[in-house]
């Protein structure tokens, strides 16, 4: 009886369409990092919807509403903690996913467009982390926004929509809140759909050193694997949220520049310390370099040992990024904008 019920549900919902063949190596940690990133994003959306019930997007009350949530609302501290740590875990798995894709040359023909969609997702996640940092409106948030506006004002007409001039009288915090809960998640979900479509359309990239046709399994087995890894990610996020409280300051003291950004942005803080215009110069250079990857590296070789230049660039980039993060964390600010 149970089997017939299951079969009936499968037929009604069209679940048998999920039983198509995919490559067996999908069920490995390195090929599931994207799925783990997606799990963290789902956690962020769910906790974000709950957090929005308590947040007041007005500069005068934003910070106070977060303090109220953390101190007064039952499980409010845990909710905020889960949201914060889900963002951190997402950043880690997203970066590892990018490294894996580059390492296995999965951006090569015919998957160039999916690489570009991935770059778009990276930019959206960065924007979401930035806006999420700003809306709590403490000292760290204020200085993050100050740096952002410094850049926006130097972009001339292109930067006007990002400043208060675009909608005078409307607090910029309120507009950033709208972007954080509406515009950016909407575009992210659309691009995620496209990303998953292209994985299905082009199939999972084959193992670089494979010489024979890949072994296959049903996609439902991969779903089971993703369920396992997803619950693992959720457990990790819950443990972190239970143990460690994310930082939260009081309302900012305007005009001061005394904080460092979150670790996701501290690398650019280090660059800014070297030369302030890096704030404007570095991000577009990085984005253009990422976009150029599948169009510069057009060889058919995918095995990492046969791609010494690509591996050298990858190693250099990782060393530079980690070095800048560490340096930014420990260095003292020597400039003021």
């Amino acid at each position: 009886m149970a089997k017939s019920v299951t079969e009936t549900i499968k037929e009604r919902l069209g679940l048998q369409l999920l039983e198509y063949d995919i490559e067996e190596h999908a069920n490995s940690l390195r090929y599931s990092l994207g799925g783990m990133t997606l799990t963290s994003f789902v956690v962020l959306v769910i906790t974000g919807i709950l957090l929005a019930q308590f947040f007041v997007p007005d500069p005068e009350r934003a910070n106070q509403s977060v303090h109220y949530l953390v101190d007064q609302v039952y499980l409010g501290w845990f909710l905020r903690g889960v949201h914060f740590w889900a963002a951190d875990v997402l950043t880690v798995t997203l970066l590892l996913h990018m490294v894996r894709v580059f390492f296995t040359a999965s951006y090569k023909k015919p998957r160039e467009v999916n690489w570009l969609v991935g770059v778009g997702l990276l930019l959206l996640m960065t924007s979401l982390i930035f806006t999420g940092t700003v809306i709590k409106w403490d000292q760290e948030a204020y200085e993050a926004l100050a740096h952002f506006l410094w850049v926006a004002e130097r972009l001339g007409p292109l930067g006007v929509p990002l400043t208060e001039e675009f909608a005078q009288g409307v607090p910029l915090l309120t507009r950033l809140y709208m972007a954080h809960i509406s515009l950016l998640p909407l575009i992210t979900i659309l691009l995620l759909g496209l990303h998953l479509f292209y994985i299905k359309y082009h199939r999972l990239s084959p193992l670089p050193q494979a010489s024979e046709p890949p072994k296959v399994m049903k996609f439902t087995r991969h779903i089971a694997y993703l369920q396992w890894s997803g619950v693992g990610i959720v457990t990790l996020i819950c443990v972190l949220a239970l143990l460690i409280q994310p930082p939260l300051g009081d309302k900012p003291v305007l005009g001061l520049e005394v904080t460092k950004p979150p670790w996701q942005f501290v690398w650019i803080y280090a660059l800014e310390n070297l030369w302030v215009p890096f704030l404007i110069v570095a991000p577009p250079i990085i984005v253009l370099a990422l976009i150029a990857v599948p169009f510069v590296d057009r060889s058919e070789e995918r095995y990492w040992k046969q791609r010494p230049l690509a591996m050298a660039i990858l190693a250099l980039t990782l060393i530079l990024f980690i070095g800048l993060v560490l340096w930014g964390k420990f260095t003292t600010m020597t400039h003021s904008m």
Partner: protein
Amino acid sequence: MNRKFLYLPAFLVLSLALAVGTEAHVGHDKKEAAESEAPAAQESIYGTGETPEASEPEGLGSGSPFSRTDLSGKEPALPDGDLPEAEHGEPIMPQVKIAQHSMNPPSRKGYGVAVGITVLSGLGFGLLTLKRPRD
């Protein structure tokens, strides 16, 4: 199969390494937070009675320090030469305490439920590690 038991602790170590020593800013420490909790409950930001007096905006808004045109005509938060002075004539700079990640005390509201949620999630992960449906 045995390697899978290492994944969760490995992620935990990696994430904790990121959290250690991370700094932001806060304006109060734990003692002050404990004292401020009671007043916050009395001064609810969701007051249903009197309309609170409209306070002049300090952050972003019509009087934003980021505005090229200060619509409210307010003086900036730290105008040059107008800082309060100490006894010896030196300006007193506003203090901003550096906030850090801290451990959540068990006295947090709903801590037991949060522990339960975490344990349930961990049990689910353990169950799926031992026996994965359709695998």
